[in-house]
């Protein structure tokens, strides 16, 4: 399918039952959606499950999509709801709580330190409340505007601002031990 075809047109065709059009939408947005839910859920198994469920749900709910927001924002909203519900149900995140093993024999020091740093950041992110984490992920990795984050999360601009201020204050506090030990 032509990559120049805008999402809006593909959405209209998919709503008319054209599976190829929906497949192209999945192709375009699957990676972004997966990265977003991975960072929100904190582990690969949950992210795979949530991303697949969000895309299938998007297909079944397409008739109700009026196009007020972009398809991406609408899709991420489905993903965010599923991911937040999953996190608030209290499922443990495996990777976030994993302890980094000792460096392997012959592993360069810089490589080990990089792994330590990534682990510390993932753990700090994983300890943020679900809504703060979601807002921070959308702002930092997706570079969404506050308006887009509000649409994705169903929040007002003021609420988004407040979530991000608190998320950043908490992240800073959570990263402090790693900073004190020179990991970050």
């Amino acid at each position: 399918m032509n990559e120049d075809v805008p999402d809006q047109e593909l959405v209209a065709r998919a709503r008319a039952g054209e599976l190829d059009a929906f497949e192209e939408l999945v192709r375009r947005h699957q990676h972004g959606l997966y990265c977003f839910v991975y960072r929100t859920c904190g582990d690969a198994a949950s992210a795979e499950e949530v991303a697949q469920a969000a895309l299938v749900k998007a297909w079944s709910a397409l008739a109700g999509f009026r196009g007020a927001a972009s398809f991406k924002t609408w899709l991420y909203r489905i993903g965010a709801n599923l991911a937040i519900n999953r996190r608030t149900r209290g499922r443990p995140t495996v990777e976030l709580d994993e302890q980094l093993p000792a460096p392997e024999a012959g592993e360069p020091e810089t490589e080990y330190r990089r792994k330590q740093r990534e682990q510390a950041v993932r753990q700090a992110l994983g300890r943020l409340p679900a809504d703060q984490r979601t807002a921070l992920v959308l702002a930092t990795y997706e570079e969404m505007s506050y308006g887009e984050i509000g649409e994705t999360m169903g929040k007002t601009l003021r609420a988004v601002d407040s979530l991000l201020v608190r998320a950043r204050q908490n992240l800073r506090r959570l990263l402090q031990p790693a900073r004190d030990t020179g990991i970050v």
Partner: protein, 152 residues
């Protein structure tokens, strides 16, 4: 500048740092914040710390996407499409049977009423030759006659 004014100004500035980081500050607010930052080392350090945290976050590598995601999603979508078509087909079949039943029941009821009314008419005038049930129209007419006649 008094301590109170400085403190309030710092509180306001801290609230704006996050929006500045995200490029969400209006020009006027940005100018006010930058004025404050140029004279306040503590708030400047706070902004630098926020920028460091963001850089550390941004440096996390993107996770590799599972290669099967598209295939699995489309397989599920096709299955759900077949399921809904199957239900739609079943619904249509049930609807057709229900409609046929209604026609049969309706026609039966019409014949029954017509016949009953015809009998009632025969009883009333004692002449069955003039009251024949040959069509829905005549049945309806007979019912009308019988009812109106019964009321009179």
């Amino acid at each position: 500048m008094s301590k109170q004014v400085m403190s309030t100004s710092c509180t306001q500035a801290r609230q704006m740092l996050s929006r500045r980081l995200d490029g969400e500050l209006a020009n006027e607010d940005r100018r006010l914040l930058d004025n404050h930052l140029s004279g306040c080392g503590a708030c400047w350090d706070e902004l630098a710390a926020l920028e460091r945290d963001r850089a550390v976050m941004a440096a996390l590598p993107a996770p590799g996407q599972p290669p099967w995601l598209l295939t699995r999603v489309m397989a599920e979508v096709r299955r759900s499409g077949r399921r809904s078509r199957r239900w739609f087909g079943l619904g249509r079949a049930v609807g057709a049977v229900a409609a046929a039943l209604l026609v049969v029941v309706g026609a039966g009821a019409g014949v029954f009423i017509g016949t009953s009314m015809a009998r009632a008419g025969q009883g009333a005038n004692g002449n069955g030759d003039e009251l024949t049930v040959s069509s829905a129209e005549s049945v309806a007419f007979d019912v009308y006659e019988a009812v109106i006649g019964g009321e009179q």
